[in-house]
Amino acid sequence: MANTPDYNWPPMEKRRIIGKPYKRVDGPQKASGRAKYSSDLRPKDLLFGVYLTCPHAHARVTSIDTSGAEKTAGVKAVHVVSPAGTEIQWAGTEIAAVAATTEEIARDAVRKIKVDYEVLPHMVKEDDLGKAGARAKAAGESVKGDPDKAFQEAEAVSEGQYGIPVVTHCCLETHGMVIQWQGDQVSLFPSTQDVTHYAGSLAPNIKVPIANIHVKQDHIGGGFGSKFGPESWDQVGADLSKKAGGRPVKLFLDRATEQAIAGNRPSAFAKIRIAGKKDGTVTGWQSESWATGGFTGGGSPPLPYIIDTIPNQRLHHTSVSVNAGSSRAWRAPNNQQASYLTCSALEDFAAKIGMDPMEVFDKNVAYAPKARVETYRYQLQKAAEIADWKKLWHPRGQGGTGVVKRGLGLGFGTWGGGGHQSQCRTTIHPDGSVLVEIGTQDLGTGTRTIIVQVAAETLGLPLGAIKLAIGTNDLPPDSASGGSTTVGGVSSSTRKSSMNALAKLFEAAAPALGAQPEQLEAVDGHIRVKDNPSKSLTWQAACRKLGVTKISEMGENQQRNPMGLNTSGVAGIQIADVSVDTETGLVKINRYVAVQDCGMVINPRLAESVCYGAIIMGIGTALFEERVMDEQTGRMLNPDMEFYKLAGINDIGEIVVHLDIRPENDKRGVVGLGEPPAIAICAAVGNAVANAIGVRVPNIPMTPDRVLAALEGRNA
């Protein structure tokens, strides 16, 4: 091949499959219960693994006796995770695990394990920084411009304290895997966001060559950033399987352990002061923030969020260590927190000077990165229009004389979402069948569907003509599905491998069409001459020219050089329209409007679904979700789904998603959407509640008790 194919996306008007709202290709499997998740697998001779976990938030294991478990009939293997001497730093930590012929026997057996602990003092709450003592680590002060002068000279100064708690990922499929270690081979069926790298990370821990570890995952029951791995339980499961003579072991966390240890989002609290002019221009920012991400601290919301070129700033952040499970990436890490803190403070500033926050936000997005200032202004206008802001917004607290007050609030978000490193192989067989292979995973975002759409578009074939293989580690390497990077990565690698394969097919078909390969195109199941479409071969006829040799071509998306196929960086504006019952404190979402910046959208139906999902998850965090820790016992009080509340079908109001599909955005190539629309919800809902009831409810979630406390002037 002399020429490199032109990988560029076809122009908008020429696309037949990209940009169309196809139904997800694995929809029928999932909607009929036939889709098999790793937690559904029951290979022959399966053993059930169960963990014993630590009930103390801080303790030292002084002795452990597993003989009772070992003697239990049906128990095939016991593994001690935390031997005598281990210091435990949070409740729920794994102490030992048992594999038995039934789950019931395994549960009985772990209860027979005797563990003695030396219980040590713990600290599990960080909402009051004054009590954190030595557990608080200040990051030091960072100053820009002259904040003291800005505050002295300010025409108006607003201040407030805001907090957003630790929430959990609460994946419906808990963390775990089915694993079989037989001889020198390991078969592993995980629940992971990173099929490609799973074996490589596990191999050194169990001392098995990567090549001998076979990873397979068809479906994953939720990840949201908490399931990269491999995890300690993969090693434990491997050991149990080996000890049990190579029988497969299923080890998935129970719900309580999942909630306590398998992932959460760091909290964030801040005292924020804003200095500004009466025309709405912010001139100074001062924040003292603190957060916890578990025992090792962590959680550092980037403040001020988006409007980070405010000329005069003083920032002070403190990381607090608590005896609770570690944080993990949670759908746009640190961004929800930063958005909530920043937008709340900005809205309070608007209220202080008696201005419409729409104008204050519009003015101050001037401090956003230059490339996106105009996008935010466009989006503010668009969102205001859809939400009927002009008609429905009122100055803070003027929500009518009735018991139920209505209010509107704003929030903003930003994210990257450029494509990750990805390789794809497209194989065209002499009988015309096509196989596309990538070692990726479909988190439910529609990855399978968009890969097939890109291949079908590129090869001029219908969707059904493409066979797809994903989810195993013997396929061309992809990357972890995190950071909204998958869609950009897999669509670009698929585009390239399919263009490369097609170029080979053109070479084979060109002589029969009496043309040069570069004169050919693939359209509607035919290979034809571009300027003379009557000269054409059917796809099958063209593929027969291959004789007995298939075409198998690779394509790679290089993260650093996406060649215009994908890009990074999106903005978003969201508006919550809420009603608050001032007698019960109940907050109800009436309408929720999201204007979402996007690049080229491969499937608008799936893109919209992802946005809805992100917003609904956000509404859960804004109204209901919170990890409640008990100071006395050091345990999580709500490690379940009854008191750790997710939003239900009747809690979300009407959601309106406006995907900003315009030619100037389309030109940017593909951008990931998994995280961007999940960022601004707490901010928008919190601001809407303040707008409705006239006072700030400082802490998320906006539960009735907090709303009532704020109304009564109590510190919520």
Partner: protein
Amino acid sequence: MSSRKDHAGFSRRGFISGIGLGGGAVGTGLLEREAAAAPAPANVAGPGPAPITLTINGKPVNVTVEPRVTLLDAMRNYLDLTGAKRACDRGVCGSCTVIMGGKTVYSCSVLAIDAQGKNIETIEGLAAGNNLHPVSAAFVNHDAQQCGYCTSGFVMAAKGFIDKHPNPTMEDVKRGLGGNLCRCGTYMGIRQAVLEAAKEMKGGKNG
């Protein structure tokens, strides 16, 4: 939450009694003692594995399980009926929903031995082969699924709901499907799917 005194307003005891766990725990203890004192009835099963017969999708299925095994675990761990999922495992999320004796139930909260004698409809019985039941088809049409882990339960809950409410309004759907939870946030599609499925089923053969 600044002084010790403030915490009295939200003590663990208050929290637990407020949510009803305290009463439940005491009750369980009493029941255990009473059970220990009472003579065993003649038809007692267990505590070891006991053979039982479940009627699943109209067919008798024999399985030997301990009496404490839930219907959900019997299906998933003993029978390879894995459409119903275990997510909360405590009768909240509905991922394990099946229809038993015409009633929508959480199979994680029904003991398998208690499920004998009633027809248990599971998602596996809704349609044969590659066919789709109208509810499943409507879920596909409206993209009412993402990761899909809650989807089987939602489909069964929707089927049970439509069986009882053949002409639902949107408001009915929002209330009627409130017993199931989705973490990916697919409710917008589910609302539309249930309305469409109700229409489909009324018009046709699958009602």
